[in-house]
């Protein structure tokens, strides 16, 4: 069933891309030789290009960082070590996962390959998920950038970390209680076994690390690029004023800010600066929702999660995180 949906989704995506290309080609006016390219581009397309490339150029170094970091874990950290470091008691392991960001300050693009590797190395799933959600918020780099962006209310940086901590731990507990089936994507285990086999066959060989980096670059890259493209198009066509008009009641304003965080797909290091530009329009608890939700989930990372986890699991995770962030930030004493 899911496989069918997925293949259907692929076809839709393909048709969309071809349609877009067709529109793009026909919408361009004027003519010129290839050398001249005297085509008049619609300024909106040029803006989309600017946003698309800038999100991509910003994210690629961090994706590569994550890829190499995961290769590093693969080579130098043994499964035994991961098991020994992770607290035995499942409840003690939850805060451990949430605070792991202090050890590995990675942003949300880099964290997915790292978590995948750690789970493969024997880290319990719920701890991995807690790290996945909390890591990009509860880490010194992101906290200090939030602190700088909100010079007027510096305590928001701590509220942000604390709220993300709470949400991640609750989600981790839910995963611990309810997820029985292995959520890793079909074929993922085979791939992991395969990678491990390669690593063992050629352990210590740099070229193996690099060829896996290429695999992972293309694997993560397609989701990253697709997410960046959607985000770029939306940023050009959706005006903030419309968002502000929708977000009049507290719940609506939280949902609007979360929706924006999801669609904009900003790096968790930079999103605080965007959030602070809304500080005149929205109450700070709505900003908190933006700050907590964005790094946990956005278009780009949702698609990247699909490269690692089953579609059904990702869908449920997105649902649970959305509801929880909304509830927690609405009730958060600010």
């Amino acid at each position: 069933m899911l496989a069918k949906i997925r293949s259907f989704a692929w076809e839709v995506v393909g048709a969309l891309i071809i349609g877009l290309v067709a529109v793009w080609l026909t919408a361009t006016k004027g003519s010129g030789r290839l050398s001249g390219w005297q085509i008049e581009w619609s300024p909106r397309w040029l803006d989309i290009k600017t946003f698309f490339l800038s999100i991509m150029l910003e994210a690629i170094p961090f994706v590569l960082l994550g890829v190499f970091f995961s290769a590093f874990i693969q080579t130098f950290v043994t499964e035994e070590q991961v098991r020994r470091w992770t607290p035995k008691h499942p409840l003690a392991a939850l805060p451990f996962g949430a605070l792991l960001g202090f050890l590995f300050p990675v942003c949300e693009c880099a964290i997915i390959p790292v978590v995948r590797r750690l789970i493969q190395k024997g880290m319990p799933l719920h701890v991995g998920i807690v790290f996945l959600l909390a890591g990009p918020v509860v880490n010194p780099v992101v906290m200090s950038s939030t602190y700088i962006a909100f010079a007027r209310q510096p305590d928001l940086a701590f509220h942000r970390a604390a709220a993300a901590f709470v949400v991640a731990i609750v989600i981790g507990a839910l995963v611990l209680l309810f997820v029985r089936k292995n959520p890793l994507r079909w074929g993922m285990e085979a791939q992991i076994r395969h990678e491990a086999a390669h690593q063992e066959a050629v352990r210590g060989k740099l070229s193996a690390t690099f060829s896996h980096a290429i695999d992972e670059f293309f694997d993560m890259g397609k989701y990253l690029l697709f997410g960046a493209l959607i985000s770029a198009v939306l940023q050009v066509y959706i005006s903030r004023e419309v968002m502000v008009e929708i977000g009049q009641t507290p719940v609506a304003s939280h949902l609007v800010m979360m929706g924006m965080a999801y669609l904009f797909s900003l790096c968790s290091e930079a999103d605080a600066f965007i959030a602070s530009s809304f500080s005149n329009t929205f109450h700070s608890s709505a900003l908190l929702a933006f700050l907590v939700f964005g790094p946990m989930l956005d278009v780009k990372t949702t698609l990247m999660l699909c490269s690692t986890f089953r579609f059904g699991f990702v869908a449920r995770l997105v649902g649970a995180v959305t509801v929880l962030v909304l509830a927690v930030t609405l009730l958060w004493p600010l």
Partner: protein, 344 residues
């Protein structure tokens, strides 16, 4: 998956990787990287370029030598798209940014985006900063704000004294220091550094005091790229003091439907990490021939700052005496000095 088709995939990948390498190299060589990333992220891009070159080489090697012949039982785990249809989509996604990067001209962000984002004019956020700092310094400023309310009406806003006893903490301190200050703009040149520092003393930290003093000392304030954001913030904090000063700055022309024909905004985009997080800041300019300058064109303006009451607080408007068209600067975006105590 047979060997030959796997090799084809590796070739396609090599081409795409070399495309990314070339695109990044092109942006770096032509110094266009700042159209996409803030300078503090450029270092990452240089490293990325090195890694991409390495990956391209490894990938080409893979394509020539073929996939490594390991003894493993995982033939189908190799991450290459299986059907032709899927390959087209996946590789199309990678080719798209390359095509855009190489074929589409560069365009710096302009009014279209500014309209979607909303422009922060001189005087929006900054009041809040004042209010917060004012509350924190309430005790220290107690006496000063008392004298403020007594001397009520000395300055334009002092009389309106909104909900806060002192809307801007600077007001109180300044008025206490020299009550007749507002009328003394012309004599300012004679003030020594120390006096100036006193004039701009406030609870907002030395940064803004230093900034205000250095701006104020200039006969014509040069709001250039380096100080654009911080300077704008500073002048907003001390709107009253800066009223009447001459200012020169440049930016692109932005208009809103409710503007009069004489009005336009000289705006800049501020970028924190990547262009997608850009925010718009600007100064409202009034000029008799304002309608002459097309939206999105870059202009250099020079004129006198004038304080005006908008919604019960003071806002600076630039009465431009001179407007001239200029070329957009090489790096069209402006940045906060990262160690400053304020952002966005």
């Amino acid at each position: 998956m047979n060997q030959a088709s796997l090799k084809r995939h590796y070739w396609v990948r090599s081409l795409i990787l070399s495309g990314f390498t070339l695109l990044l190299a092109k942006l770096i060589v032509t110094e266009r990287l700042s159209h996409y990333l803030a300078p503090r992220l450029h270092m990452f891009s240089y490293v990325t370029l090195g890694i991409l070159i390495l990956l391209t080489l490894v990938s080409i090697r893979q394509a020539i030598v073929g996939p490594p012949r390991y003894e493993c039982d995982c033939e189908d785990a190799h991450q290459v798209p299986r059907s032709l249809w899927r390959s087209l989509i996946v590789y199309g996604l990678f080719v798209l940014p390359l095509a855009m990067g190489f074929l589409m001209p560069e365009q710096i962000l302009g009014s279209d985006v500014a309209e979607k984002r909303g422009v922060t004019l001189l005087g929006n956020d900054v009041r809040k900063l004042g209010a917060v700092a004012g509350a924190a310094n309430a005790s220290a400023q107690g006496a000063a704000s008392e004298s403020l309310s007594q001397s009520g009406g000395a300055g334009g806003t002092a009389g309106t004294a909104t909900s806060q006893p002192s809307g801007k903490p600077g007001d109180g301190a300044r008025l206490a220091a020299s009550p007749a200050q507002t009328q003394a703009q012309t004599r300012s040149a004679a003030l020594s550094d120390e006096q100036l520092r006193q004039k701009f003393a406030s609870g907002l930290g030395d940064f803004y005091t230093d900034m205000a003093v250095s701006l104020y000392k200039q006969p014509v304030i040069q709001l250039d790229d380096k100080v654009f954001l911080d300077g704008l913030t500073t002048m907003e904090l001390y709107a009253k003091e800066f009223a009447g000063k001459e200012l020169e700055t440049l930016g692109f022309v932005y208009r809103q439907p409710d503007f009069t024909p004489q009005q336009f905004v000289v705006a800049r985009f501020s970028v924190t990490c990547c262009t997608a997080d850009a925010n718009v800041f600007g100064v409202l300019v009034e000029n008799g021939q304002g309608s002459k300058w097309p939206t999105d064109s870059w202009v250099k303006v020079r004129g006198k700052l004038e304080a005006r009451m908008v919604d019960g607080y003071e806002m600076l408007v630039l009465k431009a005496s001179k407007v001239e068209p200029v070329k957009p600067p090489k790096d069209p975006y402006v940045y906060y000095n990262y160690d400053t105590p304020i952002g966005g």
